[in-house]
Amino acid sequence: MCGTCGCGSDQKGPIISKPGEHQHPIDAHHHHHHDAEHAHEHSHEHIHESDHEHQHNHQHKVLEIEQDILQNNQMLAARNRGYFEAKNIFVLNLVSSPGSGKTSILERTLADLKDTISFYVIEGDQQTLNDANRIDALNIPVVQINTGKGCHLESDMVFNALKKLDPKNNSILMIENVGNLVCPSMFDLGESKRVVIISTTEGEDKPIKYPDMFYTSDICIINKIDLLPYVNCNINHIKKYALQVNPNLVFFEVSATKGTGMDDWYKWLVANK
């Protein structure tokens, strides 16, 4: 069984591919399928024939480690960040639950700004090239990471995707994370800013139901505001909950399909890039 995801598949690690390309699994991820290479013979068995006290004469030794469990991801994220800084690439990590409109916001933004800014996109999904194909249709360089059963992107996947994407200096890289409001919050990818997207159809208290994601984000885009007349949602409540989690959040209220509110988002993007 695959350790990372508990899946029974043979897929080894995430697959990184460009639209129109044959998909190769890459092996650089943490999917160690521990096979023959080191078969541990746990021969530490005691057969006690007499009824003496069960006393081991082994000496227990303690090795102090004091290491952060996510240190590996953080180190690779720092390496990504250094690469981005050297090339003056502004990187956004887009996170949200599935269906809140990450790809739609991305598509609209790229279509409206691609003549003035050079964009690159990394798409993260468990399966399919669908999102990458949507971006590719806009003639924006894109690489798709399929995480298989994995629920979030990690910094080594982004590192490997970058080799394929080869972004130019002074550009903006958009990383669309796997749609999931829980797991991606713990994994720094090396981004400049984290952008959490919530839509008006999702329920006002999402920010306190899934606080870690809002706590670690810098920007909160509230999408689908064109649906406000039809749904039971008060934007001020969303903001109140979100600010309770993270008082430093900056908000944008948009409708990606209608284009409402996108100008403020573009202004921020251009000013911060």
């Binding site: 350790g3 508990g6 943490h30 521990h34 530490h44 082994h58 090795l63 290491q67 979030h152």
Partner: protein
């Protein structure tokens, strides 16, 4: 289910730590996990066995020290116990706070024979 990634991270750290030492068996691994670390202990326990299978930790005891979260209000300096990451200051109700403890996610030590 990022707990599985975390469990595998723990295995990786343990494997690296014992790379250059002579040992027969790792008997215990000590972890420190904060209540605001984003880890569900139930989920971690659930995935543990499959994560450590065929690794140096397969027969180890897992000992978890749970670190209770504490915050300090940026506005009035009150230190307070936190249950959620969105808890506001009990004294002045400000949402601006620093988290003093509770984000820990660490391997403290291993014990081996």
């Amino acid at each position: 289910m990022h707990e599985l990634s975390v469990a595998l991270g723990i295995v990786k750290i343990a494997e690296k730590a014992v790379e250059n030492i002579h040992f027969e068996r790792i008997t215990k691994i000590e972890l420190q996990i904060g209540t605001l670390s984003g880890i569900e202990l139930d989920s971690l326990n659930f995935v543990w066995d499959s994560a450590v299978k065929d690794t140096v930790l397969e027969k180890s005891i897992k000992q978890i020290e749970v670190v209770k979260a504490k915050g300090k209000c940026v506005d009035c300096d009150t230190a307070f116990d936190m249950e959620h990451i969105y808890d506001s200051c009990p004294k002045c109700h400000s949402n601006f706070k620093g988290i003093l403890k509770g984000k820990e996610l660490r391997v403290k030590a291993i014990e081996f024979i």
